[in-house]
């Protein structure tokens, strides 16, 4: 039965939704705003909203003191690298689990997911020692390896869900039609799974970009991505809110823009199967 939506009800829902949305967005908005204030204005009480002397000084200082582009490049390499390698491993894995499941496929999937439940700090020391002994500390290679492994369960799960939605008969039809395994994957499976693969890729890039535990603990200077760049403004010389905000804004801007442009894809990807 369709529920009647009265104008009043609609108005209330709209107000509530906007309030929640603004509340969630407020910290980001405030960070961006603060990044354009002077240090004195940043900590002024009462805080000033838009009526302050706008300045780009913080951005200049931040760029002067630390090399933004090196961190940015590290973030790009680490997030894209771990995602691409993750996809290369996950596509065949998800393919096998979705189309030729064995008796233990479900168990394997659950087991993989269970690794996500382990608190990362529990393996910090062993992993740190491993990295130290193998010379992977503070290298991009090391971070790519760690982030690939950390996000692999999610990539496989997502792809598995997408592939499960593709009817096996279509792939069998392709086989009957003379397609080799390669043509089957290239001309039939991939075009049908592109939306799924794309949203998996996007989500994983975002997760890897934002990952802060391992990137902070396993890097020092060389491989430090943007997360470490932000962190470097949070302590050493006391708190400089304006500069910290400028650094944060610079760090989250790229992923925010990516997220903005791909939100349709992401939402469609994350709700795939659930609303079919």
């Amino acid at each position: 039965m369709a529920r009647a939506i009265t104008p009043r009800r609609k108005a209330i829902t709209t107000v509530i939704a906007w309030t929640i949305g603004l509340l969630i967005f407020f910290p980001i908005f405030w960070t961006v705003l603060t990044s354009f204030k002077t240090e004195a204005e940043a900590v002024a009480t009462p805080p000033r909203f838009l009526m302050f002397d706008w300045t780009l000084e913080n951005y200049a200082t931040v760029q002067e003191r630390s090399n933004y582009f090196r961190h940015f490049w590290n973030s790009v390499v680490i997030s894209l690298g771990s995602t691409v390698i993750g996809l290369i491993i996950a596509i065949p894995a998800a393919w096998a689990m979705a189309f030729v499941p064995g008796k233990r496929t479900k168990d394997v999937l659950m087991w993989m997911l269970s690794t996500k439940m382990l608190p990362p700090v529990g393996v910090l020391v062993p992993l740190y020692l491993l990295f130290r002994d193998t010379g992977l500390l503070d290298t991009r290679t090391g971070l790519v390896i760690v982030l690939t492994l950390i996000n692999l369960p999610i990539i496989i799960w997502m792809l598995y869900t997408y592939f499960r939605e593709i009817p096996g008969e279509i792939l069998e039809a392709a086989r009957m039609d003379g397609a080799t395994l390669r043509s089957e994957i290239l001309y039939v499976l991939t075009p049908m799974a592109v939306p799924g693969i794309a949203s998996t890729l996007l989500l994983n890039v975002i997760l890897a970009w934002n990952e802060a535990f391992w990137t902070l603990n396993l890097t020092a200077a060389n491989a430090a991505p943007l997360t470490a760049f932000i962190a470097s403004y949070s302590s050493p010389e006391g708190l400089f809110y304006a500069k910290l905000s400028a650094a944060s804004t610079m760090a989250i801007a790229p992923i925010l823009i990516l997220g903005w442009f791909s939100q349709k894809q992401l939402v469609r990807g994350l709700t795939f199967g659930a609303v079919k």
Binding site: E169, E172, A174, D177, A179
Partner: protein
Amino acid sequence: MGRITLEGVAKRFGDVEVIPPLNLDIEDGEFVVFVGPSGCGKSTLLRLIAGLEDVSDGRILIDGSDATPLSPARRGLAMVFQSYALYPHMSVRKNIAFPMRMAGIDETEQKRRIDNAAKALNLTDYLDRRPGQLSGGQRQRVAIGRAIVREPSAFLFDEPLSNLDAALRVGMRLEISELHNRLKTTMIYVTHDQVEAMTMADKIVVLHAGRIEQVGSPLELYRNPRNVFVAGFIGSPRMNLFTGAAAAEYGAETIGVRPEHIGVSAENGKWKGRIGVSEHLGSDTFFYVEDTGLAEAVTVRADGEVALRHGDTVWLTPAEDKIHRFDANGDRI
């Protein structure tokens, strides 16, 4: 050519034997229907022939050469699936072209075959649409078109009509029969619908629990069912099967009489009963006669004009020469 021979073909999934070793000959150009209740292994058997499943034992010969180790693509067979299994991201034209593209057939030849198939299947106006924009019947025709252009040595149909509504099903049934008459290519058709089997087949293979119960022409199976299972499965409405005293009288464990072989009269006859439900179809009338002491309800087919109604007491008389007798194992005597 499309002569298919199964030699001792068996299929096991783990410890479960779904198809015990069986032998079957399918002649070139024959329209063979595998029919049986769901779970009887008919689709599995078709998939074994297609190469989509590996046989556990035995050999599959296509035109005399062993096709058992060959991949589905190399067996030269085309298959039409129940779900149509069209490629949703390709236009109708590209769907039909796909097998030719895989076979490396040149573009002009591709175009010629697509045009011919589209004309034969009334798809010319839909070639640039996607499968999602077509109705069920049109989708099934695209699937058939995709099978035709391969010029296969045999067509395999896996319950192709079960997703269509009743009216469309009858139409498509005729189209497939006409296609067979025109192409004269071997067709193997799987269905659980015995009406489809009876109307389309040159040869019916009745399967039950993975075993072949009987192979023969529709009328052979109808007239001389080899056992109780075939007797009960082929024919609509079902054959009446009686056990006990009525069967013992004929020296059998079970006897079977088809609805049209029982005479019905208001005055006299062999078995007395009362009409329960009656179905008037115009040309025929079906009575379900109760309280006969033979079976729960005896189905009788009578002329459309018979003036008998629900609740009337009637006498039934079987045509003695049309009674099928079966022994304790269910086999024909």
